[in-house]
């Protein structure tokens, strides 16, 4: 009798252990899901327009709170990271940016985990942080 050692969702969703690329993979999933939730919420929120000014204003009141602003700032961050990292992935998944395959030599540095990719990940995270700050600035009229 064999027992499957599948790591399961816990293993899939564990961003540690395997470097920044695995963190980017994890962030990409989380931000994607977060953005989908926001998107559905946003469509629901804007539909209150059809019920007239009062409905719209009370919906606005619900969202124009400190928590609402923090959530929106997070959405901005998620959006920027998902876009930046998404563009990196599109380029990489098309097979660009790895250089040529070659005979590997010890200690075998994999060219798929190259600096260009790492830099793009860090830049996406950095841009997301900046965009969140800018967003908060706009929301609070700083």
């Amino acid at each position: 009798m064999e027992k499957d050692r599948k790591e399961g969702i816990k293993g899939m969703a564990n961003p540690g252990r395997y470097g920044i690329e695995r963190v980017a993979y994890w962030l990409m999933r989380i931000t994607g899901l977060g953005l989908l939730v926001y998107f559905i919420g946003h469509i629901y929120e804007t539909s209150s327009l059809l019920d007239g000014k009062a409905a719209w204003n009370s919906m606005l009141e619900l969202t124009q709170t400190t928590e609402g602003h923090i959530f929106l700032a997070l959405v901005i961050g998620m959006c920027v990271f998902h876009t930046g990292n998404g563009i990196r992935l599109m380029i990489a998944e098309a097979g660009f940016g790895f250089g040529k395959a070659r005979r590997p030599d010890y200690p075998y540095t994999p060219s798929s985990l190259n600096m260009k990719n790492k830099l793009c990940i860090y830049v996406s995270i950095g841009l997301a942080a900046l965009a969140m700050m800018y967003g908060l600035g706009v929301m609070y009229d700083v």
Binding site: I9, M12, R29, G32, L33, L35, L36, F39, I40, I43, Y44, T46, S47, L49, L50, G52, K53, W56, N57, L60, Q64, C79, T83, G86, M90, V138, M139, D141
Partner: protein, 118 residues
């Protein structure tokens, strides 16, 4: 879905919807920020926005592109989490249905608001 379409075609759609949506989202955000963020949310301003046909088209395009991209992404994650014919079909058609419902619901807002039916 994947019985009708190869997975690579779905992924091409996934990439393409993402790229085009990014362009539209930038326009959407620029329009809001240029009006002044809190002013842009005033009821009359929002209605005026919807009545501008090019902007309504931007909104509708964004609605479709992001729904397709988002629900396909969700489908991809859900199909990885568990396998099996019944589950996989439920996920695939469930995501497709959710996508269509969201697009329909959002379109209702856009069409009615832009035609002044508020």
């Amino acid at each position: 879905m994947s019985s009708i379409m190869r997975e690579s075609h779905i992924m091409k759609i996934h990439y393409l919807t993402a790229l085009v949506a990014v362009g539209f989202v930038i326009i959407h955000i620029m329009v809001r920020v240029m009006q002044g963020f809190s002013d842009s949310l005033l009821f009359d301003n929002v209605i005026a926005n919807y009545k501008s046909i090019p902007y309504a088209i931007v909104l509708e395009a964004m609605l479709i592109l992001i729904s397709v991209h988002g629900f396909n992404g969700l489908r991809i994650i859900l199909l990885e989490i568990k396998q099996g014919r019944v589950y996989e079909n439920a996920v695939t058609y469930g995501c497709l249905a959710a996508m269509i419902i969201l697009i329909a619901y959002g379109s209702r807002t856009i069409i009615m608001a832009s035609m002044g039916m508020v």
